[in-house]
Symmetry: C2
Subunit: 152 residues, 2 copies
DNA sequence: GCTGAAAATATGCGTCG
DNA sequence: CGACGCATATTTTCAGC
């Protein structure tokens, strides 16, 4: 889909705060409420806007402990990869999972309450997955930047 | 803030789709529209709901190339750390940046169009930051899971 | 893309358990 | 205190141009 300057401004705004009313957006972008409405619907239909979500404060939910787990599989056949991925997706502590290049096969972003819970996760969930070779974990000491908004 | 079962269900729903109407939510949770409204306002006021955002399809925006950059600083004094972080935050290609434990000091999630653009980013932006020692990059081969929603 | 009206929703209030 | 129903302010959504 081809985007003009107004579409891009609109996406910048919606990535920042998707609960703004069309009226507010129309004032910012100097367009009528209907024009804003039509543009947003078009962006939604095209799939460019995937969904609208609420972002929560993980600290308040006792999920302030973030760990990046690098995972190596024992073998790399298609069957092993598919099986590992199917199981990894199910783990609620795993917010993100990427098949990556380099020494390790996967990079996982894991969110738990504290070290105790991470230990539980490692023992009972991650290392008991099929085909897991070795893992290496890095703990987040400080979240310097974390945004879902991309440049336009 | 103390959350009961209904609050948790509400947060599950809002993490999935924050554009649902209070009417839809009231049907799902068997509560009145007003009760849903009051609960959401309370969750917003407490800061537990941080914000509402639109998530976009990066592929369609020509940002389908994701790279994880592990960064080592030349020194680790407070001054160097602060300076690196202040500069890293500014980079639009960097969606996330964490100070982490382990061999490398930082883990960055970088989003660009393709390898060419990543090369540009490395040469002109990342490696020209102050106090950068070495870096090691892993390319995302496959995004297996990527969610913003946490368990409740 | 705009204006203007209709339908749906959000929001504030008084009241009840 | 928190849930409810009702009344009204706002917003969304849809014609017609």
């Amino acid at each position: 889909m081809k985007l003009d300057t107004i579409d891009k401004q609109l996406l910048v705004e919606l990535q920042r705060d998707c609960k703004q009313t069309n009226k507010e957006l129309s004032a910012k972008l100097n367009l009528s409420v209907t024009a804003i409405y039509e543009r947003i619907k078009k962006l939604e239909r095209s799939g460019l806007i995937q969904n609208y979500v609420a972002l929560l404060d993980k600290k308040q939910l006792d999920l302030g402990f973030m760990v990046f787990c690098h995972v190596k599989l024992t073998q790399h056949s298609g069957k092993y990869i598919t099986e590992f991925e199917r199981e990894a997706i199910q783990l609620e502590e795993v917010l993100e999972c990427y098949h990556v290049s380099g020494e390790y096969d996967y990079l996982l972003k894991v969110v738990v309450k504290d070290m105790e819970h991470f230990r539980e996760f490692m023992i009972n969930k991650l290392t008991s997955l099929q085909h897991i070779g070795s893992t290496q974990s890095s703990f987040s000491i400080n979240e310097v930047k974390n945004t879902t908004a991309v440049r336009l």
